[in-house]
Protein backbone atom coordinates (compact mmCIF):
# COMPACT_ATOMS: atom_id res chain seq x y z
CA UNK A 1 0.00 0.00 0.00
CA UNK A 2 1.23 3.42 -0.93
CA UNK A 3 0.49 6.02 1.75
CA UNK A 4 -2.14 3.81 3.37
CA UNK A 5 -4.21 2.98 0.31
CA UNK A 6 -4.25 0.72 -2.72
CA UNK A 7 -5.46 1.89 -6.13
CA UNK A 8 -6.95 -0.66 -8.51
CA UNK A 9 -8.00 0.42 -12.01
CA UNK A 10 -11.16 -1.24 -13.32
CA UNK A 11 -10.01 -2.46 -16.71
CA UNK A 12 -13.23 -4.33 -17.39
CA UNK A 13 -15.54 -1.64 -18.38
CA UNK A 14 -14.41 1.91 -18.34
CA UNK A 15 -10.93 1.12 -19.71
CA UNK A 16 -8.97 2.82 -16.99
CA UNK A 17 -11.52 5.54 -16.46
CA UNK A 18 -12.63 3.94 -13.18
CA UNK A 19 -10.24 3.44 -10.27
CA UNK A 20 -11.17 1.95 -6.91
CA UNK A 21 -9.20 3.07 -3.84
CA UNK A 22 -9.04 0.73 -0.87
CA UNK A 23 -8.13 2.19 2.51
CA UNK A 24 -7.56 -0.60 4.99
CA UNK A 25 -7.49 1.52 8.11
CA UNK A 26 -10.10 4.02 7.08
CA UNK A 27 -9.95 7.74 6.43
CA UNK A 28 -11.62 10.89 7.66
CA UNK A 29 -14.37 11.36 5.08
CA UNK A 30 -15.16 14.96 6.01
CA UNK A 31 -11.48 15.83 5.91
CA UNK A 32 -11.17 14.28 2.47
CA UNK A 33 -14.22 16.15 1.22
CA UNK A 34 -12.83 19.44 2.52
CA UNK A 35 -9.36 18.79 1.09
CA UNK A 36 -10.79 17.98 -2.34
CA UNK A 37 -12.89 21.13 -2.35
CA UNK A 38 -9.92 23.22 -1.30
CA UNK A 39 -7.70 21.64 -3.95
CA UNK A 40 -10.21 22.64 -6.63
CA UNK A 41 -11.15 26.06 -5.29
CA UNK A 42 -14.45 24.84 -3.90
CA UNK A 43 -15.78 24.24 -7.38
CA UNK A 44 -16.78 20.61 -6.99
CA UNK A 45 -20.50 19.88 -7.31
CA UNK A 46 -21.70 17.78 -4.40
CA UNK A 47 -24.61 15.39 -4.16
CA UNK A 48 -25.45 12.33 -2.13
CA UNK A 49 -27.34 9.11 -2.69
CA UNK A 50 -28.83 6.66 -0.24
CA UNK A 51 -27.96 3.05 -0.91
CA UNK A 52 -29.87 1.13 1.73
CA UNK A 53 -28.26 2.10 5.03
CA UNK A 54 -25.30 3.68 3.28
CA UNK A 55 -24.94 7.30 2.22
CA UNK A 56 -22.71 7.78 -0.79
CA UNK A 57 -21.31 11.26 -1.36
CA UNK A 58 -20.53 12.32 -4.89
CA UNK A 59 -18.14 15.12 -5.77
CA UNK A 60 -17.98 16.11 -9.41
CA UNK A 61 -15.60 18.34 -11.32
CA UNK A 62 -17.48 18.65 -14.57
CA UNK A 63 -15.87 17.08 -17.60
CA UNK A 64 -12.94 15.95 -15.45
CA UNK A 65 -13.87 13.44 -12.74
CA UNK A 66 -16.33 12.17 -10.16
CA UNK A 67 -15.47 10.86 -6.70
CA UNK A 68 -17.88 8.59 -4.84
CA UNK A 69 -17.18 8.35 -1.12
CA UNK A 70 -18.63 5.56 0.97
CA UNK A 71 -19.44 3.05 -1.76
CA UNK A 72 -18.21 0.30 0.58
CA UNK A 73 -16.38 0.43 3.91
CA UNK A 74 -12.90 1.73 3.16
CA UNK A 75 -13.55 1.98 -0.57
CA UNK A 76 -13.69 5.07 -2.75
CA UNK A 77 -14.60 5.20 -6.42
CA UNK A 78 -12.74 7.63 -8.69
CA UNK A 79 -14.20 8.02 -12.18
CA UNK A 80 -12.30 10.03 -14.77
CA UNK A 81 -14.52 11.57 -17.39
CA UNK A 82 -14.10 10.44 -21.00
CA UNK A 83 -13.09 13.96 -22.07
CA UNK A 84 -10.29 14.23 -19.52
CA UNK A 85 -6.96 13.93 -21.33
CA UNK A 86 -4.33 11.47 -20.13
CA UNK A 87 -2.36 14.40 -18.68
CA UNK A 88 -5.42 15.70 -16.85
CA UNK A 89 -6.18 12.23 -15.51
CA UNK A 90 -2.66 11.85 -14.18
CA UNK A 91 -2.76 15.28 -12.57
CA UNK A 92 -6.17 14.86 -10.95
CA UNK A 93 -5.28 11.39 -9.69
CA UNK A 94 -2.18 12.88 -8.12
CA UNK A 95 -4.13 15.62 -6.38
CA UNK A 96 -6.79 13.18 -5.21
CA UNK A 97 -4.22 10.80 -3.75
CA UNK A 98 -2.51 13.65 -1.94
CA UNK A 99 -5.84 14.65 -0.38
CA UNK A 100 -6.51 11.03 0.51
CA UNK A 101 -3.19 10.75 2.34
CA UNK A 102 -4.13 13.82 4.34
CA UNK A 103 -7.46 12.26 5.26
CA UNK A 104 -5.84 8.96 6.23
CA UNK A 105 -3.32 10.76 8.42
CA UNK A 106 -6.11 12.77 10.04
CA UNK A 107 -7.93 9.58 10.92
CA UNK A 108 -4.76 8.01 12.34
CA UNK A 109 -4.11 11.08 14.49
CA UNK A 110 -7.55 10.76 16.02
CA UNK A 111 -7.21 7.04 16.81
Amino acid sequence: MNGGFEARPDERCQRGLAVSYFVARGYDEERLRAALQAAWNHSLIEASETWGKRTVRRLVRQFRFEVRLGVRDGEISFLHRALASPEQRAAQSGVFESCLRTAIAAKEERT
Binding site: R12, C13, A47, W51, V60
Partner: protein, 410 residues
Amino acid sequence: MARTLGPYVSSPHGKRLMGKEPLVFHCNYYNYFLQKTLLLDDELAMHEVIADAAASSAFATLSNAARGLELGTPDARRKLAEYTFSELGFGTIDLSRVTPSGGVAHVPVSHYGRCLRAASGAEFARPQSYFDAGFAAAAASVIHGVPLESLEGRIEACQSMGAPEGRIAVGPRKRRDAYFVSCGQGGQWAGTPVGPNKDTHVDESAILAALGTLDFSGNEEGLVPRFGVMLTNHFANFYNRISFEFVHRMKSTGLMEAAEDLLVEAGFRCAFHTFGGIMSSAEWDAVIKPQCKTKEDWVHGMVATVNALGWGVWRVHELSAERLVVRAYDDYESSGWLGTYGKAERPVSYLMAGGVAGIMNLIHVGDISRKPTLDLGFYEKVFESDARFFPRQVKSMAMGDDYSEVVAER
Protein backbone atom coordinates in the same frame (compact mmCIF):
# COMPACT_ATOMS: atom_id res chain seq x y z
CA MET B 1 -28.30 19.86 -14.02
CA ALA B 2 -31.33 21.50 -15.67
CA ARG B 3 -32.11 19.94 -19.04
CA THR B 4 -35.18 20.61 -21.17
CA LEU B 5 -36.63 17.15 -21.61
CA GLY B 6 -39.81 15.37 -22.33
CA PRO B 7 -41.05 14.13 -18.96
CA TYR B 8 -40.59 10.54 -17.85
CA VAL B 9 -44.02 8.93 -17.67
CA SER B 10 -44.65 5.68 -15.84
CA SER B 11 -46.78 3.13 -17.63
CA PRO B 12 -48.22 -0.16 -16.36
CA HIS B 13 -46.00 -3.19 -15.91
CA GLY B 14 -42.85 -1.33 -15.06
CA LYS B 15 -42.61 0.56 -18.29
CA ARG B 16 -41.28 4.12 -18.56
CA LEU B 17 -41.94 6.44 -21.45
CA MET B 18 -40.38 9.62 -22.77
CA GLY B 19 -42.21 11.33 -25.62
CA LYS B 20 -44.52 8.28 -25.64
CA GLU B 21 -41.61 5.99 -26.47
CA PRO B 22 -40.81 3.14 -24.06
CA LEU B 23 -37.32 3.22 -22.58
CA VAL B 24 -35.26 0.24 -21.44
CA PHE B 25 -31.88 0.13 -19.74
CA HIS B 26 -29.10 -1.76 -21.46
CA CYS B 27 -25.35 -1.66 -21.15
CA ASN B 28 -22.45 -1.19 -23.53
CA TYR B 29 -21.81 -4.94 -23.60
CA TYR B 30 -25.27 -5.76 -24.94
CA ASN B 31 -25.11 -2.82 -27.33
CA TYR B 32 -21.83 -4.17 -28.67
CA PHE B 33 -22.73 -7.86 -28.98
CA LEU B 34 -26.12 -7.15 -30.49
CA GLN B 35 -24.67 -4.79 -33.08
CA LYS B 36 -21.82 -7.19 -33.84
CA THR B 37 -24.34 -9.90 -34.60
CA LEU B 38 -26.43 -7.67 -36.82
CA LEU B 39 -23.46 -6.45 -38.83
CA LEU B 40 -22.05 -9.93 -39.60
CA ASP B 41 -23.54 -10.20 -43.07
CA ASP B 42 -22.77 -7.09 -45.13
CA GLU B 43 -25.36 -8.03 -47.74
CA LEU B 44 -28.16 -7.51 -45.24
CA ALA B 45 -27.21 -3.81 -44.99
CA MET B 46 -28.18 -3.85 -41.34
CA HIS B 47 -26.12 -0.71 -40.69
CA GLU B 48 -28.84 1.17 -42.57
CA VAL B 49 -31.54 -0.50 -40.48
CA ILE B 50 -29.71 0.49 -37.29
CA ALA B 51 -29.48 4.12 -38.34
CA ASP B 52 -33.09 4.17 -39.54
CA ALA B 53 -34.39 2.50 -36.36
CA ALA B 54 -32.54 5.10 -34.32
CA ALA B 55 -34.07 7.85 -36.43
CA SER B 56 -37.57 6.43 -36.05
CA SER B 57 -37.43 6.12 -32.27
CA ALA B 58 -35.65 9.44 -31.81
CA PHE B 59 -38.09 11.20 -34.11
CA ALA B 60 -41.07 9.86 -32.18
CA THR B 61 -39.57 10.82 -28.82
CA LEU B 62 -38.38 14.26 -29.82
CA SER B 63 -41.43 15.30 -31.85
CA ASN B 64 -43.83 14.17 -29.12
CA ALA B 65 -41.77 15.87 -26.45
CA ALA B 66 -41.44 19.09 -28.45
CA ARG B 67 -45.18 19.17 -29.01
CA GLY B 68 -45.91 18.47 -25.36
CA LEU B 69 -43.52 21.18 -24.19
CA GLU B 70 -44.79 23.58 -26.86
CA LEU B 71 -41.28 24.35 -28.07
CA GLY B 72 -41.91 26.92 -30.77
CA THR B 73 -38.39 27.72 -31.95
CA PRO B 74 -35.66 25.70 -33.65
CA ASP B 75 -33.23 26.72 -30.92
CA ALA B 76 -35.50 25.35 -28.20
CA ARG B 77 -35.99 22.11 -30.13
CA ARG B 78 -32.25 21.82 -30.73
CA LYS B 79 -31.60 22.04 -27.01
CA LEU B 80 -34.27 19.40 -26.41
CA ALA B 81 -32.53 17.06 -28.85
CA GLU B 82 -29.08 17.68 -27.39
CA TYR B 83 -30.25 17.30 -23.82
CA THR B 84 -32.21 14.14 -24.63
CA PHE B 85 -29.15 12.56 -26.25
CA SER B 86 -27.15 13.26 -23.10
CA GLU B 87 -29.86 12.45 -20.58
CA LEU B 88 -30.35 8.98 -22.02
CA GLY B 89 -26.65 8.16 -21.93
CA PHE B 90 -25.79 8.39 -25.63
CA GLY B 91 -23.12 11.04 -25.09
CA THR B 92 -22.86 14.67 -26.14
CA ILE B 93 -24.05 15.97 -29.50
CA ASP B 94 -23.77 19.45 -30.99
CA LEU B 95 -26.48 20.08 -33.58
CA SER B 96 -25.86 23.81 -33.95
CA ARG B 97 -24.27 23.41 -37.37
CA VAL B 98 -27.14 21.41 -38.85
CA THR B 99 -29.46 23.60 -40.94
CA PRO B 100 -32.77 22.78 -42.67
CA SER B 101 -30.79 21.63 -45.69
CA GLY B 102 -28.28 19.59 -43.70
CA GLY B 103 -24.89 20.03 -42.09
CA VAL B 104 -22.57 18.25 -39.69
CA ALA B 105 -23.41 17.18 -36.16
CA HIS B 106 -20.42 16.95 -33.84
CA VAL B 107 -20.33 14.22 -31.21
CA PRO B 108 -17.48 14.89 -28.76
CA VAL B 109 -18.58 11.95 -26.60
CA SER B 110 -20.46 8.97 -28.00
CA HIS B 111 -21.56 5.87 -26.11
CA TYR B 112 -21.37 3.90 -29.34
CA GLY B 113 -18.14 5.55 -30.39
CA ARG B 114 -16.27 5.21 -27.11
CA CYS B 115 -17.88 2.64 -24.86
CA LEU B 116 -18.22 -0.43 -27.06
CA ARG B 117 -14.43 -0.91 -27.20
CA ALA B 118 -14.43 -2.18 -23.61
CA ALA B 119 -16.68 -5.02 -24.77
CA SER B 120 -15.10 -5.82 -28.11
CA GLY B 121 -11.70 -6.97 -26.92
CA ALA B 122 -10.31 -6.04 -30.33
CA GLU B 123 -9.96 -3.02 -32.58
CA PHE B 124 -12.91 -2.25 -34.78
CA ALA B 125 -13.01 -2.98 -38.47
CA ARG B 126 -15.80 -0.45 -39.06
CA PRO B 127 -17.41 2.52 -37.31
CA GLN B 128 -19.92 1.77 -34.57
CA SER B 129 -21.98 4.95 -34.29
CA TYR B 130 -24.88 4.20 -36.65
CA PHE B 131 -27.23 5.05 -33.81
CA ASP B 132 -25.78 8.55 -33.63
CA ALA B 133 -26.28 8.94 -37.38
CA GLY B 134 -29.95 8.12 -37.11
CA PHE B 135 -30.44 10.29 -34.05
CA ALA B 136 -28.86 13.27 -35.79
CA ALA B 137 -31.16 12.92 -38.80
CA ALA B 138 -34.24 12.72 -36.58
CA ALA B 139 -33.09 15.68 -34.54
CA ALA B 140 -32.56 17.76 -37.68
CA SER B 141 -36.07 16.91 -38.82
CA VAL B 142 -37.66 17.91 -35.52
CA ILE B 143 -35.53 21.02 -35.06
CA HIS B 144 -36.21 22.47 -38.49
CA GLY B 145 -39.63 20.99 -39.27
CA VAL B 146 -38.28 19.11 -42.28
CA PRO B 147 -39.87 15.75 -43.15
CA LEU B 148 -37.85 12.90 -41.68
CA GLU B 149 -38.17 11.02 -45.00
CA SER B 150 -36.07 13.69 -46.71
CA LEU B 151 -33.03 13.27 -44.46
CA GLU B 152 -30.45 10.72 -43.47
CA GLY B 153 -27.34 10.77 -41.32
CA ARG B 154 -24.01 9.40 -42.48
CA ILE B 155 -20.96 8.72 -40.32
CA GLU B 156 -18.02 10.92 -41.35
CA ALA B 157 -15.86 10.16 -38.33
CA CYS B 158 -16.22 7.79 -35.40
CA GLN B 159 -14.31 7.53 -32.14
CA SER B 160 -14.41 3.75 -32.41
CA MET B 161 -12.03 4.12 -35.36
CA GLY B 162 -9.74 6.51 -33.52
CA ALA B 163 -11.25 9.87 -34.46
CA PRO B 164 -11.00 12.45 -31.66
CA GLU B 165 -14.70 13.16 -32.01
CA GLY B 166 -17.64 11.80 -33.96
CA ARG B 167 -19.01 13.65 -36.95
CA ILE B 168 -22.34 12.91 -38.60
CA ALA B 169 -23.20 14.45 -41.96
CA VAL B 170 -26.94 15.09 -42.21
CA GLY B 171 -28.19 15.51 -45.77
CA PRO B 172 -30.76 14.48 -48.36
CA ARG B 173 -31.89 10.89 -48.06
CA LYS B 174 -30.56 8.75 -50.87
CA ARG B 175 -32.11 5.43 -49.89
CA ARG B 176 -35.55 4.64 -51.24
CA ASP B 177 -36.90 2.52 -48.42
CA ALA B 178 -39.16 4.40 -46.04
CA TYR B 179 -38.45 4.98 -42.39
CA PHE B 180 -40.20 2.60 -40.05
CA VAL B 181 -42.86 4.28 -37.92
CA SER B 182 -42.39 3.48 -34.26
CA CYS B 183 -45.28 1.63 -32.63
CA GLY B 184 -44.90 3.50 -29.33
CA GLN B 185 -45.92 1.22 -26.49
CA GLY B 186 -46.99 -1.45 -28.92
CA GLY B 187 -49.05 -4.39 -27.79
CA GLN B 188 -49.98 -4.40 -24.12
CA TRP B 189 -51.53 -6.95 -21.84
CA ALA B 190 -54.45 -5.48 -19.97
CA GLY B 191 -54.34 -7.83 -17.00
CA THR B 192 -52.63 -7.53 -13.64
CA PRO B 193 -49.53 -9.65 -13.09
CA VAL B 194 -49.29 -11.87 -10.05
CA GLY B 195 -47.43 -10.28 -7.15
CA PRO B 196 -43.79 -10.94 -6.37
CA ASN B 197 -42.91 -14.38 -5.11
CA LYS B 198 -43.29 -14.54 -1.33
CA ASP B 199 -41.04 -17.55 -0.85
CA THR B 200 -37.93 -15.40 -0.43
CA HIS B 201 -36.27 -13.02 1.99
CA VAL B 202 -36.11 -10.43 -0.79
CA ASP B 203 -38.50 -7.48 -0.66
CA GLU B 204 -39.02 -6.39 -4.26
CA SER B 205 -40.92 -3.22 -3.46
CA ALA B 206 -38.14 -2.08 -1.14
CA ILE B 207 -35.56 -2.81 -3.83
CA LEU B 208 -37.50 -0.89 -6.45
CA ALA B 209 -37.97 2.01 -4.06
CA ALA B 210 -34.24 2.09 -3.29
CA LEU B 211 -33.21 1.88 -6.95
CA GLY B 212 -35.71 4.63 -7.72
CA THR B 213 -33.66 7.08 -5.67
CA LEU B 214 -30.47 6.56 -7.67
CA ASP B 215 -29.46 8.93 -10.43
CA PHE B 216 -29.50 7.21 -13.81
CA SER B 217 -29.32 10.38 -15.86
CA GLY B 218 -26.47 10.91 -18.25
CA ASN B 219 -23.73 12.92 -16.52
CA GLU B 220 -22.41 16.16 -17.96
CA GLU B 221 -20.73 14.13 -20.73
CA GLY B 222 -23.94 12.25 -21.41
CA LEU B 223 -22.70 8.91 -20.10
CA VAL B 224 -24.17 6.73 -17.33
CA PRO B 225 -21.42 4.84 -15.46
CA ARG B 226 -23.23 2.48 -13.10
CA PHE B 227 -22.71 -1.05 -11.76
CA GLY B 228 -19.32 -1.20 -13.44
CA VAL B 229 -20.80 -0.83 -16.93
CA MET B 230 -21.92 2.06 -19.13
CA LEU B 231 -25.69 2.11 -19.25
CA THR B 232 -27.98 3.58 -21.87
CA ASN B 233 -31.59 4.45 -21.14
CA HIS B 234 -32.46 3.34 -24.63
CA PHE B 235 -35.41 3.07 -26.98
CA ALA B 236 -37.15 -0.31 -26.74
CA ASN B 237 -38.42 0.09 -30.28
CA PHE B 238 -34.89 0.62 -31.54
CA TYR B 239 -33.77 -2.72 -30.15
CA ASN B 240 -36.92 -4.43 -31.36
CA ARG B 241 -36.72 -3.05 -34.88
CA ILE B 242 -33.09 -3.96 -35.43
CA SER B 243 -33.46 -7.45 -33.91
CA PHE B 244 -36.69 -8.35 -35.67
CA GLU B 245 -35.62 -6.94 -39.03
CA PHE B 246 -32.45 -8.99 -38.77
CA VAL B 247 -34.48 -12.16 -38.29
CA HIS B 248 -36.78 -11.20 -41.18
CA ARG B 249 -33.84 -10.64 -43.50
CA MET B 250 -32.31 -13.96 -42.52
CA LYS B 251 -35.47 -15.93 -43.41
CA SER B 252 -34.52 -16.48 -47.01
CA THR B 253 -30.96 -17.57 -46.22
CA GLY B 254 -31.77 -20.80 -44.40
CA LEU B 255 -30.08 -19.34 -41.32
CA MET B 256 -33.02 -17.81 -39.48
CA GLU B 257 -32.74 -20.14 -36.50
CA ALA B 258 -29.02 -19.51 -36.35
CA ALA B 259 -29.75 -15.79 -36.35
CA GLU B 260 -32.17 -16.26 -33.48
CA ASP B 261 -29.55 -18.28 -31.58
CA LEU B 262 -27.12 -15.39 -31.91
CA LEU B 263 -29.72 -12.94 -30.60
CA VAL B 264 -30.14 -15.17 -27.55
CA GLU B 265 -26.35 -15.31 -27.22
CA ALA B 266 -26.31 -11.52 -27.17
CA GLY B 267 -28.77 -11.88 -24.31
CA PHE B 268 -26.31 -14.21 -22.52
CA ARG B 269 -23.63 -11.52 -22.88
CA CYS B 270 -26.05 -8.90 -21.57
CA ALA B 271 -26.84 -11.05 -18.57
CA PHE B 272 -23.20 -11.84 -17.90
CA HIS B 273 -22.04 -8.24 -17.95
CA THR B 274 -25.08 -6.24 -16.88
CA PHE B 275 -26.45 -8.68 -14.32
CA GLY B 276 -22.98 -9.77 -13.34
CA GLY B 277 -21.97 -6.16 -12.98
CA ILE B 278 -25.05 -5.41 -10.90
CA MET B 279 -24.52 -8.41 -8.63
CA SER B 280 -20.87 -7.46 -8.15
CA SER B 281 -21.57 -3.79 -7.54
CA ALA B 282 -21.38 -1.69 -4.45
CA GLU B 283 -25.00 -0.71 -5.01
CA TRP B 284 -26.05 -4.39 -4.83
CA ASP B 285 -23.94 -4.94 -1.73
CA ALA B 286 -25.67 -2.05 0.00
CA VAL B 287 -29.26 -2.44 -1.15
CA ILE B 288 -29.97 -6.04 -2.12
CA LYS B 289 -27.30 -8.36 -0.75
CA PRO B 290 -28.31 -7.76 2.89
CA GLN B 291 -31.63 -9.42 2.05
CA CYS B 292 -30.05 -12.44 0.37
CA LYS B 293 -29.66 -15.45 2.64
CA THR B 294 -29.66 -18.17 -0.05
CA LYS B 295 -28.80 -18.58 -3.72
CA GLU B 296 -32.52 -18.52 -4.41
CA ASP B 297 -32.66 -15.08 -2.82
CA TRP B 298 -29.97 -13.91 -5.24
CA VAL B 299 -32.19 -15.02 -8.12
CA HIS B 300 -35.18 -13.19 -6.64
CA GLY B 301 -33.02 -10.12 -6.00
CA MET B 302 -31.81 -10.04 -9.60
CA VAL B 303 -35.33 -10.52 -10.95
CA ALA B 304 -36.52 -7.68 -8.72
CA THR B 305 -33.78 -5.49 -10.17
CA VAL B 306 -34.80 -6.43 -13.72
CA ASN B 307 -38.19 -4.97 -12.87
CA ALA B 308 -36.53 -1.56 -12.53
CA LEU B 309 -35.10 -1.69 -16.05
CA GLY B 310 -38.33 -1.07 -17.99
CA TRP B 311 -38.28 -4.54 -19.54
CA GLY B 312 -41.80 -5.45 -18.31
CA VAL B 313 -42.66 -7.35 -15.14
CA TRP B 314 -40.69 -10.53 -14.51
CA ARG B 315 -41.95 -13.04 -12.00
CA VAL B 316 -40.23 -16.16 -10.70
CA HIS B 317 -42.76 -18.90 -11.29
CA GLU B 318 -40.58 -21.83 -10.33
CA LEU B 319 -37.09 -22.00 -8.87
CA SER B 320 -34.69 -24.72 -7.76
CA ALA B 321 -30.96 -25.28 -8.10
CA GLU B 322 -31.66 -27.04 -11.42
CA ARG B 323 -34.41 -24.97 -12.97
CA LEU B 324 -35.72 -21.44 -13.20
CA VAL B 325 -39.03 -20.54 -14.82
CA VAL B 326 -39.70 -16.83 -15.34
CA ARG B 327 -42.93 -15.34 -16.59
CA ALA B 328 -42.70 -11.87 -18.08
CA TYR B 329 -45.78 -9.72 -18.40
CA ASP B 330 -45.57 -7.17 -21.21
CA ASP B 331 -41.98 -8.05 -22.01
CA TYR B 332 -40.78 -5.27 -24.26
CA GLU B 333 -39.81 -7.60 -27.07
CA SER B 334 -43.30 -9.06 -27.38
CA SER B 335 -44.91 -5.63 -26.97
CA GLY B 336 -42.82 -4.32 -29.83
CA TRP B 337 -43.54 -7.27 -32.10
CA LEU B 338 -47.30 -7.08 -31.54
CA GLY B 339 -47.34 -3.34 -32.11
CA THR B 340 -45.37 -3.57 -35.33
CA TYR B 341 -46.14 -6.89 -36.99
CA GLY B 342 -49.21 -8.28 -35.23
CA LYS B 343 -49.29 -11.81 -33.86
CA ALA B 344 -46.06 -13.77 -34.12
CA GLU B 345 -45.63 -17.32 -35.40
CA ARG B 346 -42.74 -18.07 -33.03
CA PRO B 347 -41.45 -16.64 -29.75
CA VAL B 348 -39.47 -13.43 -30.11
CA SER B 349 -38.18 -12.77 -26.58
CA TYR B 350 -34.54 -13.45 -27.37
CA LEU B 351 -33.09 -11.07 -24.80
CA MET B 352 -35.37 -12.48 -22.11
CA ALA B 353 -34.26 -16.02 -22.93
CA GLY B 354 -30.60 -15.13 -22.67
CA GLY B 355 -31.22 -13.14 -19.53
CA VAL B 356 -33.08 -15.85 -17.64
CA ALA B 357 -30.46 -18.50 -18.39
CA GLY B 358 -27.78 -15.95 -17.64
CA ILE B 359 -29.07 -15.37 -14.11
CA MET B 360 -28.77 -19.08 -13.29
CA ASN B 361 -25.39 -19.36 -14.96
CA LEU B 362 -24.02 -16.46 -12.96
CA ILE B 363 -25.38 -17.65 -9.64
CA HIS B 364 -25.07 -21.44 -9.88
CA VAL B 365 -22.21 -21.92 -12.35
CA GLY B 366 -20.21 -18.72 -11.99
CA ASP B 367 -20.76 -18.24 -8.23
CA ILE B 368 -21.14 -14.52 -8.72
CA SER B 369 -21.30 -13.96 -4.96
CA ARG B 370 -17.50 -14.37 -4.93
CA LYS B 371 -17.21 -11.38 -7.30
CA PRO B 372 -15.18 -13.02 -10.05
CA THR B 373 -13.64 -10.80 -12.70
CA LEU B 374 -16.20 -10.64 -15.49
CA ASP B 375 -13.78 -11.03 -18.38
CA LEU B 376 -13.76 -13.15 -21.51
CA GLY B 377 -11.93 -15.99 -19.76
CA PHE B 378 -14.59 -16.22 -17.10
CA TYR B 379 -17.37 -16.00 -19.65
CA GLU B 380 -15.84 -18.87 -21.58
CA LYS B 381 -15.45 -20.90 -18.39
CA VAL B 382 -19.14 -20.51 -17.61
CA PHE B 383 -20.26 -21.00 -21.20
CA GLU B 384 -18.19 -24.17 -21.60
CA SER B 385 -19.34 -25.65 -18.30
CA ASP B 386 -21.27 -28.91 -18.52
CA ALA B 387 -23.44 -27.53 -15.75
CA ARG B 388 -24.60 -24.47 -17.62
CA PHE B 389 -28.26 -23.58 -18.11
CA PHE B 390 -30.06 -23.42 -21.46
CA PRO B 391 -33.21 -21.40 -22.11
CA ARG B 392 -36.41 -22.44 -23.83
CA GLN B 393 -39.15 -20.00 -24.71
CA VAL B 394 -42.30 -21.96 -23.90
CA LYS B 395 -44.91 -19.19 -23.99
CA SER B 396 -44.98 -15.91 -25.82
CA MET B 397 -47.10 -12.81 -25.48
CA ALA B 398 -46.23 -12.07 -29.08
CA MET B 399 -47.94 -15.33 -30.05
CA GLY B 400 -51.08 -14.50 -28.07
CA ASP B 401 -50.32 -15.84 -24.60
CA ASP B 402 -50.98 -13.69 -21.53
CA TYR B 403 -47.28 -13.69 -20.70
CA SER B 404 -43.97 -14.86 -22.07
CA GLU B 405 -42.34 -17.72 -20.27
CA VAL B 406 -38.76 -18.93 -20.35
CA VAL B 407 -37.54 -22.14 -18.77
CA ALA B 408 -33.83 -22.33 -17.94
CA GLU B 409 -32.51 -25.81 -17.16
CA ARG B 410 -29.20 -27.62 -17.22
